[in-house]
């Protein structure tokens, strides 16, 4: 079993708000992240896949295909977008880094054929990241 990690970057804006909370609760729980005009981050995404090395190609996965899937499923949908308003998962879920890692996993997992998705890591800043391994 070999693990392969591909990085990608995207920039997007978001804000945190739960309509079930009162405005005071939203401000208390989410602090500055509750500003309805949003704020942005440069996200770094690390996608790790695992699999056996194909004896003919020497690959676990064709990186060109992996890059195409990442671009189509994640970057085209999220890069330079306002996550709350433009990415369907976040019409009803709060676009925290936790939920972003889960949403990216759910977008990628069904599209990967040869290799198996092992981990999605999303850096919101260089000092904060979330890992999701597909655990229930």
């Amino acid at each position: 079993m070999v693990y392969l990690t591909r990085k990608a970057e995207f920039s997007a804006s978001h804000y945190y708000n739960n309509p079930e909370f009162t405005p005071e609760e939203n401000r208390r729980i989410f602090g500055k992240c509750n500003n309805p005009h949003g704020h942005g981050h440069n996200y770094t995404l690390e996608v790790t896949v695992k699999g056996n090395v194909d004896p003919r190609s020497g690959f676990v996965v064709d990186l060109k295909q992996l890059k195409e899937i990442l671009t189509r499923e994640v970057l085209d949908a999220m890069d330079h977008r306002f996550l709350n308003k433009e990415v369907p998962e976040f019409f009803s879920r709060i676009p925290t880094t936790e939920n972003l890692a889960i949403a990216i996993w759910q977008r990628l997992a069904p599209k990967l054929k040869a290799a198996q998705l092992h981990r999605v890591r999303v850096y919101e800043t260089p000092d904060l990241f979330v890992d999701f391994y597909g655990e229930a």
């Binding site: 602090g31 936790e98 939920n99 981990r119 000092d127 229930a136």
Partner: protein, 140 residues
């Protein structure tokens, strides 16, 4: 769904590696330059990994305000710009980064209850890092 959240913090401190259980010659041979009696310092980076289910109402596994508050009060206020050898916790053990890792894990395990503590990882320099997951196999 279970996610792992990691936050990085920084502090600077001095230390000297010297064991009372060894002779001066053994200390010099074991710790080399780190045995310099006047000590030396590092800019440490500490990575704290916690895990938990994502709360549907907040979208969070752990509110960062709670984590930041605990790490600042329990770790950074205690060690930043200090001499580790003078800390009560190192009265009876050598302040290697291995021991610092275990100590920080134990302090947070005892005092932080907003999410499950998974791992403490410390970069002593850009070239050395140490990780402790409470005796369990570390993830990744």
């Amino acid at each position: 769904m279970k996610v792992y959240l990691t936050r990085r913090y920084r502090f600077s401190a001095s230390h000297r590696l010297h064991s009372d259980a060894m002779s001066d010659t053994e200390n010099a041979a074991t710790y080399g330059k780190c045995n310099n009696p006047h000590g030396h310092g590092h800019n440490y980076t500490v990575e704290i990994t916690v895990s938990g289910s994502v709360d549907e109402k907040t979208g969070m596994a752990c509110n960062l305000v709670d984590l930041d508050d605990a790490v600042h009060r329990q770790i950074l206020d205690r060690f930043d710009l200090q001499n580790l050898n003078k800390a009560a916790e190192f009265a009876a053990q050598v302040p290697t980064t291995e021991n610092l890792c275990r100590l920080i894990y134990d302090i947070l395990q005892r005092t932080f209850h907003h999410a499950h503590l998974e791992m403490v990882r410390i970069e002593e320099t850009m070239l050395n890092s140490f990780a402790y997951a409470g005796g369990e196999e570390a993830l990744r």
